[in-house]
């Protein structure tokens, strides 16, 4: 019964909420009424957009020493999670069998383990830093904490199911993934889809005004 629920109705429901929710959120941003900029352009908006998209991958020299932990932890977590999500063998097989109908070469098992370790370590560092730094703690919302904890729980259940020998552990992992998919569109996790457009928008605004930032 539980297996049927998790693999059947709940999976399709969470998938629908995720897809519709993400599309709705993106559409809301794209079609939001923006004021027409009547000022005379002092620079290229598109140039500013492209520059901002890529330059923000590296922190500003002035603040880099103070945010070293966040930068290193951030890259470890996001790159590790990306590799896990799209190149871990169980995920590739799942995407092929349940979603896409085609697959690709997964990474070897040792790389899978290293990626998981990077993701875990990065997330722990980032979340602890959020909790322990007075300013970060003050500006953090409930959504930030729920998103971090939910992501951690998904990774932890995935880690527990690594042996692939117990169906119950695989189901537990899938269940937590479904919870995350339902929560995703309505949370700060949407930054996975919005960080590039957001940077481009800000960069275009800066570029048009000739701001070198």
């Amino acid at each position: 019964m539980i297996e049927y629920l998790i693999k059947g109705p709940l999976w399709y429901f969470s998938l629908a909420v995720f897809c519709i929710g993400v599309l709705w959120q993106l559409a809301r941003i794209i079609f939001a009424a923006a004021k027409t900029d009547l000022s005379v352009a002092r620079g290229s908006a598109s140039g500013g957009a492209w520059r901002n998209v890529f330059s923000r991958f590296v922190p500003h020299r002035e603040i880099a020493p103070r945010i070293r932990l966040q930068v290193i932890g951030g890259y470890m977590f996001h790159l590790g999670l990306f590799a896990l999500l799209f190149f871990a063998a169980p995920h590739v097989h799942f995407l092929e069998n349940h979603l896409l109908g085609f697959g690709w070469t997964p990474m070897p098992h040792w790389a899978f383990i290293v990626a998981a370790q990077f993701a875990f370590f990065g997330l722990i560092l980032l979340w602890l830093r959020r909790m322990l730094n007075a300013v970060s703690r003050l500006i953090s919302t409930t959504d930030d904490h729920i998103a971090a904890i939910l992501t951690f729980v998904v990774m932890l259940t995935g880690c527990l199911a690594l042996g692939q020998g117990f169906h119950a552990l695989n189901l537990l992992h899938l269940f937590t993934v479904e919870l995350l998919m339902i929560y995703f569109p309505f949370s700060c996790l949407m930054h996975a889809f919005t960080f590039i457009p957001s940077r481009a928008f800000t960069g275009a605004w800066f570029g048009r005004r000739g701001i070198d930032a």
Binding site: I113, Q117, L160
Partner: protein
């Protein structure tokens, strides 16, 4: 499939030439059992020749394996829970008799910065990973004897699989956080003059006189080096156990297992004392790892030499300055400025 070409004396023992008294064609019910018994129990070297390339692939039966399994069941599995329960009992008894160790004059509200954000992140990372590894490790060590009677074989096998996989994955991260701990804290934990006095006076628990201490006292320094050295031993032995394909034989694996379990049990037992002292055991201690600041009265009570330094350097914050730093504006200031 293991293919072993052993030159066994027992093979000769079964030839007709040496058993002239026995009639031909008589077979025992299980002719193999005598052969394998001889393989296990004879005193000759038990390694043979094989085409299979690998560490100890010529060993048909590892007789030491039984001895190792018996040792594991009779020692670590039997004594580890006793050691941990005794430590818990001592702490409960100590708390019942002594209670929370207070600060003379109570907390003043004036604070001194003790640890940076980074140092606290390193501490809690190591602590969280350690707790996770301790829990999963104890499930693997004691589960067969303690959990199977409680939950049955099916639940235990699921728990054991989950614990093994997560323990092996998280272990190497513990080593990295241990290295971060060395880099962040080693310099201030080098023993210095006066530390021995602290030890001789039992850290203030023997007698009622005050014991002098610097930024870290001898107890904290000893705990730190214990974590680093035993932690490294546990990590290295763990890596040997988790990567059996690097050429290490069974003996090295067995020794690593002993080091791993012994080190882990010692570290878990002492960490219970550390957790007690850092939280409910001593007034004001937990604040050091929560906010990074400690009360000046706490500093004077436990680290008087450091207290002298921070006073000389004018590093003591007023309660209001501390509250502002942490986004907690005192009420009196709110009223004066009209802020909500």
């Amino acid at each position: 499939m293991l293919v072993v070409l052993l030159v066994l004396p027992v093979a000769n023992a079964s030839t007709p030439q040496q058993h002239k008294d026995y009639p031909q064609g008589v077979s025992s019910i299980s002719p193999g059992s005598d052969l394998w018994r001889e393989v296990r129990q004879r005193d000759l070297p038990i390694s043979g020749i094989t085409q299979v390339q690998g560490v100890e692939s010529g060993v048909l039966i590892n007789a030491d394996g039984d001895r190792w399994a018996r040792f594991r069941i009779e020692n670590p599995v039997r004594y580890a829970p006793i050691v941990l329960l005794v430590v818990v009992a001592i702490l409960v008894l100590f708390y019942a008799l002594r209670g929370k160790v207070g600060i003379e004059g109570g907390l003043s509200g004036r604070m001194v910065k003790r640890f940076t954000d980074y140092e606290r992140v390193v501490h809690w990372t190591l602590a969280l990973l350690f707790l996770f590894l301790a829990l999963t490790g104890l499930i693997l060590l004691l589960g067969r004897t303690l959990l199977i009677p409680l939950f049955g074989h099916q639940v235990f096998s699921l728990l054991a699989s989950a614990s093994k996989e997560s323990h092996n994955l998280v272990g190497p991260i513990f080593l990295v956080s241990l290295i971060m701990m060395v880099v962040s804290f080693a310099r201030r934990n080098i023993y210095e003059k006066g530390d021995l006095t602290w030890l001789l006076k039992g850290g203030g628990f023997i007698g009622k006189s005050h014991v002098s201490g610097g930024f870290f006292n001898m107890g904290e320094k000893s705990w730190y080096w214990m974590v680093i050295l035993i932690g490294l031993a546990i990590s290295i032995s763990g890596l040997i156990l988790v990567s059996p394909n690097f050429g290490q034989g069974r003996v090295i694996m067995a020794i690593s297992h002993v080091v791993h379990v012994l080190g882990a049990v010692i570290l878990i037992a002492v960490s219970l004392g550390h957790m007690y002292m850092g939280s409910i055991g001593t007034e004001g201690s937990i604040e050091a790892m929560k906010s990074g600041y400690v009360d000046i009265n706490w500093v004077e009570a436990h680290h008087d030499r450091w207290a002298q330094q921070v006073k000389e350097n004018d590093e003591v914050l007023t309660a209001e300055e501390f509250a502002r730093l942490h986004g907690r504006i005192p009420e009196s200031t709110d009223n004066a400025t009209g802020q909500s």
